[in-house]
C-alpha cells in the first residue's frame, strides 16, 4: 500500500511538469498532501494520539487544504493568467523528470544500508529535484512558490524514511516556520502583483552589479 501511494506521488510529479494551468498545480499539491497523509498514517504504526493530530494538521490541513486554497486565492486576486508558461516544451520536461527519477533510483541503489527504506529515498530525491526543475524553468513567480512546495513534500517523505524522532516541540516549531514562510511568500506574490502588474520573474532583475 505504501509503495502504491509513493508511486502515485511520483506520477503526480510527472503530471505536474506537463500541466498547463496554475489551478492544476494547486490541485496536484493538494492531492499530494492527502497522499502524504496516507503514507505517514500507514507507516507510523505505533502512533500516539498527539502524533496523529500533528500529522493530520501538517498534511491534510496545511498541505492539502490551507496552502492550495491560499494559492488559488492569490492566483484569482492578482488576475494571474492561468498558464504556467514554461521555458521548455512539455516533451523535454517529461524527459528531464523521467531522467531525474531514473537517476534517483540508480543513486539510491548504490547506498549500502539495510535499514534505509529505499523507495522513500527515491521519491524524496525525485520530488526535490523536480521542485528545483520547476523553479528553474517556469517564468512566473507563483510557480516558483509551487516548486518550493514540491521540495517541501520531498523533504516530508525523507523525514518519514528516517523515522524522524525529533522531540514534539521541535517538530511543531519546524512545521510552523515552514507554514509561515509559505504565507509570507504568498503575501509577497500579492505585493509584487500590486506593484508590477506582471508576474514574470524577469521583472525582478533591477538589482545587479
Amino acid at each position: 500500500m505504501t509503495n502504491t501511494l509513493l508511486i502515485t506521488l511520483i506520477i503526480s510529479l510527472i503530471y505536474m511538469v506537463v500541466a498547463n494551468r496554475l489551478y492544476t498545480y494547486a490541485a496536484i499539491l493538494s492531492f499530494q498532501g492527502f497522499v502524504l497523509f496516507g503514507v505517514s498514517f500507514i507507516e507510523l504504526t505505533e502512533i500516539s494520539l498527539t502524533n496523529l493530530i500533528f500529522i493530520l494538521l501538517e498534511t491534510v490541513v496545511f498541505k492539502a487544504i490551507v496552502i492550495p486554497a491560499f494559492l488559488n486565492y492569490v492566483i484569482k486576486k492578482n488576475n494571474i493568467t492561468r498558464e504556467a508558461e514554461p521555458f521548455l516544451s512539455n516533451f523535454i520536461s517529461v524527459g528531464v523528470v523521467t531522467a531525474i527519477i531514473v537517476a534517483s533510483f540508480l543513486l539510491s541503489n548504490t547506498i549500502q544500508d539495510d535499514q534505509l527504506k529505499r523507495i522513500f529515498f527515491v521519491v524524496s530525491l525525485s520530488a526535490l529535484f523536480t521542485g528545483l526543475y520547476i523553479i528553474v524553468t517556469r517564468r512566473k513567480i507563483i510557480t516558483h512558490v509551487m516548486g518550493f512546495l514540491v521540495i517541501e513534500n520531498g523533504v516530508f517523505v525523507l523525514s518519514l524514511a528516517v523515522g524522524n524522532e525529533m522531540p514534539m516541540i521541535i517538530n511543531t516549531g519546524i512545521m510552523l516556520d515552514i507554514f509561515v514562510s509559505v504565507l509570507v511568500l504568498g503575501i509577497f506574490v500579492n505585493r509584487i502583483g500590486d506593484v508590477l502588474k506582471e508576474h514574470d520573474a524577469e521583472q525582478l532583475q533591477q538589482l545587479r552589479d
Binding site: I111, D113, Q115, L116, L128, I141, H144, F148, I151, E152, V155, L158, S159, A161, V162, G163, N164, E165, M166, P167, I170, G173, I174, D177, I178, V180, S181, V184, L185, F188, R191, I192, V195, L196, L204, Q206, L207, D209
Partner: protein
C-alpha cells in the same frame, strides 16, 4: 531566565507592532535593550548551564551574544536618527522596530541553542523578521530584494533540514536518537561517514545563505543594499555570525571524525571562491553599500580559510569574526549619513566628503584602514594569524592566491574610499545641504576603537572564551 526573555521579546515586539505613539515606542525599545543586557549578564555569569532543555550558554554563544548586545545599542540609536530624517509613518515605524526586536531575540535564541533542530527554527525566524526590515522602504526595488532574500533563504534552510535528516539517519544506525550538539560531538567517531558527508554538504550549503559565503551569498548582497542602513548593519554583522555558528557547530562534530580533511577542503574551496567573487565585484561595483556587502563576503571567506587551516587558524578566525562584527556596523552607519548628504549611493555622485562632514569623513577614512586590515586595525592581527596558520598547514599556493586577491580588494576599496573623501564630485549642487551633527559619529568612533583595542590588546576573558569554544577541535 531564557524563557522569561523569549516571552518578554514577544510581548515587547507585539506592543511595538501595535503602538502608534512615538514615546511609547522608544520606551519599549529601551526596555528591550535593558532586557537584552540583563540576559547577557545573567548568561555570562552562568556559563555552561542548561535552561529549558534546549538552551545552553556555551563560550561561543556567549561571545556572539555579547557582540549582539553591544551592537544593538548604536543600531537603535541610528534607527532613531533614521526615523527623524526620513519618512516617519507610525505603522511602518512599528513594524520596523517590532521586526528588529524579533530578529535580535531569535538571534539570541539561535546563539544559545544546544540542539540542531532548535537552531534551525530560530534561524528561519531570523529570515522572516529580516525580510520585514529589508522591505521597509516599500518600493519596487526593496520588493525585489526582499523576494530574493526570502526565497533563497527559505530554500537554503530547507537544505539545512535535509542535512539534519541525513544526520539523523546516521544517528539511527547506531541506535541513538539525541541530536543535541553535545551528544553529536561525543558520538561523532562511531557515525557512518557516508551520511555524515552528505549531512555536512547540505548543512554547510544551507547556512552559507546566512553566513554570506559562496554558494548562497547572493541573497544577502541585495538585502544589505536595500535595507535601511541600521538594519544593514545588523544583517552584515550579527546575522552573519549566526550563519557561521550553524556551520561551526557542525564542523566541531566533524572535527572528531576521519573526514575532517575532506571537510577542510570544502571550506577552503568555499572560502577561496568567496574571496575571488568579492574581489571581482568590488573591482566593478559602483554602489557603496554593495561594496560593503561584498567586503563581508571577502572577510567571511578569510574566516572559512582560517577554520580550514586549523591550529592557530581556529583562534584567529573567531577573533576575525568578532572584529568584523564591530567594524562593519560602523561603516554602515556612516554610509547612512553619506546618503543623507548626497541622496545617492553611487560612488560617482559622492565626493569631497571631508568638506561637508569632517567627523564623518574621519570615520570613513579610519574604517577604510580597519576593514582592509591595515595596522593599527585589530583585523591586521587576526588576518596575519590566519595567514600564518595557512602557511603552517603547508598550503602555499592558497596563501599566494588569497594574498593576490586581497591586494586587488585593498586597491579597489582604497580607490573608492579616497575618491569619496577627497575628490570633488561631478555635477553636485551644494544647496540645501543637510548639516550632520558630529554626535552622530561618536558610536562609529567607539566601535572602530573597539576593533583596534580588541585586536592589539585582547582582554583575558575574551581569549579564554575563544579558547574554550575551540577546545574540542584541538588535537588530544
Amino acid at each position: 531566565m531564557i524563557g522569561a526573555y523569549l516571552v518578554l521579546v514577544i510581548i515587547i515586539s507585539l506592543s511595538l507592532f501595535l503602538s502608534r505613539d512615538r514615546r511609547l515606542s522608544y520606551f519599549l525599545v529601551w526596555s528591550f535593550v535593558i532586557v537584552q543586557w540583563a540576559l547577557t549578564i545573567y548568561v555570562y555569569n552562568r556559563k555552561g548551564e542548561t535552561e529549558l532543555i534546549y538552551f545552553t550558554a556555551d563560550s561561543l554563544g556567549i561571545i556572539f551574544l555579547v557582540i549582539l548586545s553591544i551592537v544593538c545599542i548604536p543600531v537603535f540609536y541610528h534607527s532613531y536618527v533614521y526615523f527623524n530624517k526620513h519618512r516617519n509613518v507610525p505603522r511602518e515605524r512599528g513594524i520596523y522596530y517590532a521586526a528588529t526586536v524579533v530578529l535580535l531575540g531569535s538571534l539570541t535564541a539561535a546563539y544559545l541553542s544546544n540542539h540542531i533542530g532548535v537552531t534551525w527554527i530560530f534561524v528561519e525566524v531570523t529570515t522572516l523578521s529580516a525580510s520585514a526590515l529589508i522591505y521597509h522602504r516599500r518600493n519596487t526595488r526593496t520588493l525585489e530584494a526582499t523576494w530574493k532574500y526570502i526565497f533563497v533563504c527559505t530554500i537554503s534552510i530547507t537544505l539545512v533540514f535535509i542535512g539534519i535528516l541525513f544526520l539523523s539517519i546516521a544517528i539511527h544506525q547506531e541506535g541513538l536518537i539525541d541530536l543535541s550538539y553535545k551528544a553529536l560531538v561525543a558520538n561523532a567517531t562511531i557515525l557512518n561517514v557516508f551520511w555524515l558527508k552528505l549531512a555536512f554538504l547540505f548543512i554547510f550549503t544551507g547556512f552559507t545563505a546566512k553566513a554570506g559565503v559562496v554558494p548562497m551569498y547572493t541573497a544577502g548582497i541585495d538585502a544589505k543594499d536595500k535595507a535601511p542602513s541600521p538594519a544593514g548593519a545588523l544583517l552584515s554583522s550579527v546575522l552573519l555570525n549566526v550563519g557561521f555558528l550553524g556551520i561551526f557547530r557542525f564542523y566541531v562534530v566533524i572535527g572528531n571524525t576521519s573526514i575532517i580533511h575532506w571537510a577542510n577542503n570544502i571550506l577552503i574551496m568555499a572560502g577561496l571562491l568567496s574571496i575571488f567573487v568579492a574581489s571581482v565585484y568590488i573591482l566593478k561595483v559602483k554602489n557603496v553599500k554593495r561594496m560593503l556587502a561584498y567586503s563581508s563576503v571577502e572577510h567571511m571567506g578569510v574566516v572559512m580559510i582560517g577554520i580550514a587551516s586549523g591550529g592557530l587558524g581556529y583562534y584567529a578566525a573567531i577573533l576575525h569574526l568578532i572584529l568584523h562584527s564591530f567594524a562593519k556596523p560602523a561603516l554602515f552607519f556612516q554610509v547612512g549619513q553619506v546618503y543623507r548628504i548626497y541622496r545617492s549611493k553611487s560612488i560617482y555622485d559622492i565626493g569631497n566628503y571631508f568638506t561637508y562632514n569632517t567627523p564623518g569623513a574621519l570615520v570613513l577614512l579610519l574604517s577604510f584602514f580597519v576593514i582592509t586590515a591595515m595596522p593599527p586595525s585589530g583585523m591586521f592581527i587576526s588576518e596575519f594569524l590566519i595567514f600564518r596558520a595557512v602557511f603552517e598547514a603547508g598550503n602555499l599556493w592558497l596563501l599566494v592566491l588569497v594574498l593576490l586577491l586581497l591586494t586587488l580588494i585593498i586597491w579597489s576599496q582604497g580607490k573608492n574610499f579616497l575618491k569619496m573623501i577627497f575628490v570633488k564630485p561631478v555635477g553636485f549642487k551644494e544647496e540645501n545641504l543637510e548639516k550632520i551633527s558630529p554626535t552622530e559619529s561618536i558610536s562609529q568612533f567607539v566601535l572602530l576603537a573597539l576593533v583596534v583595542y580588541l585586536g592589539l590588546d585582547p582582554p583575558v576573558e575574551m581569549v579564554n572564551l575563544i579558547n574554550e569554544s575551540i577546545q574540542s577541535l584541538r588535537p588530544k
